[in-house]
Symmetry: C2
Subunit: 186 residues, 2 copies
DNA sequence: AGAGCCATGTAACCGGTTACATGATTAG
DNA sequence: CTAATCATGTAACCGGTTACATGGCTCT
């Protein structure tokens, strides 16, 4: 089982969905830290079906192309539950911007400053989006009595990480800009 | 030109090195956010040589296997300098632990807590290592009058990001543990 | 008239990991 | 005697991206 397989099971454990639906959710960095294209999702769903972790329901449509709705099975839920508490390796981080910072002594500070301003802006925007989302999620969770076995808790946990991540990244960019501005003014 | 190519040029811009030396530096998450295996480094160095961005010096050794010392050329420095200030895409984040947090509503809190304790420990350790490294780097930088065109600045900039990253990750793990402990005690 | 959404797939490519291959020296 | 370090390479595999392929409906 690949990680993407677990991603799809994790989403289907919350609600049945089509490959298209899943592809929409995995388009951007929304809700949690994973992304995938439809070209990877469709074959993976076929594999999950072959393994018996999901079942398909063909839904003919007239005005739109036909759909295939996927549902998680008991077997799928079992493997997902086992996987959740199994140990994981820490992911390897590869960040080209940090690498550029490492080589920044070779560049004109004035030219480099633009680069970090753009990224500071991007991460600040994402942060704001996550924070808005968090507010809404907390409300939803409250209506269910803040139970840890509620899917809302999972969403909040992952968005919490996103907020911390973007906050820290934006702060680092601003720190870099400060350093570069100081170097220019000296 | 691949990103790994720029990584290698970035390292060779500081000091000549062999493929083995570079592989040692790129083994773990030291100094900055990149990793690579020797099986990827050796072919990449050959490509850089073909493109004229580095030159090789064969160093025969008697007690040890022969070496190939790589040096960056003027052409190599030129492309590296241009690359440093060129725009970059934000990297896609894929973190299996965050994904597990997203699915945590399916698990027993007591079993999940172990998982986050292990990761909290790991990130705290890495943080300490980065902080020790930072202290030493700041000293070195001070001896050069804290110039922004000093390689030490590059190292400090990237370690700064590492410190922020690990700090935030460890804090998130502790927050997760808190939530799970609260759920158990309730 | 053209862009964008709905909906599902396949195929080529590319970066990175794992494993295969060799062989001398040194430390436990 | 075994494991680790030095030193350089190749080959198979795998996950993810880009591009190819189709086709009707809706909004501007």
């Amino acid at each position: 089982m690949t990680t993407l397989g677990h991603v799809l099971l994790g989403l289907l454990a919350r609600a049945p969905a089509s490959g298209y639906d899943l592809a929409q959710k995995l388009k951007g960095p929304v809700d949690f830290f994973w992304q995938a294209r439809h070209s990877q999702i469709y074959p993976e769903l076929a594999r999950l079906e072959q393994d018996g972790y999901v079942v398909v329901q063909h839904v003919p449509q007239t005005e739109r192309p036909d759909k295939k709705i996927y549902r998680i099975t008991d077997a799928g839920t079992t493997v997902l539950k086992a996987w959740v508490i199994a140990p994981v390796e820490v992911p390897v981080v590869r960040d080209e911007l940090v690498l550029k910072a490492y080589c920044l002594w070779l560049a004109h500070p004035a030219a480099a400053i633009e680069l970090f301003r753009a990224h500071a802006h991007h991460h600040t925007e994402l942060l704001a989006r996550y924070q808005r989302n968090q507010g809404w999620l907390l409300e939803q969770w409250a209506t269910e009595g803040r139970r840890i076995d509620s899917p809302w808790f999972g969403s909040i946990a992952s968005i919490q990480r996103g907020i911390g991540y973007e906050q820290e990244y934006a702060a680092w960019c601003r720190w870099m800009i400060e350093q570069l501005e100081q170097a220019i003014s000296d």
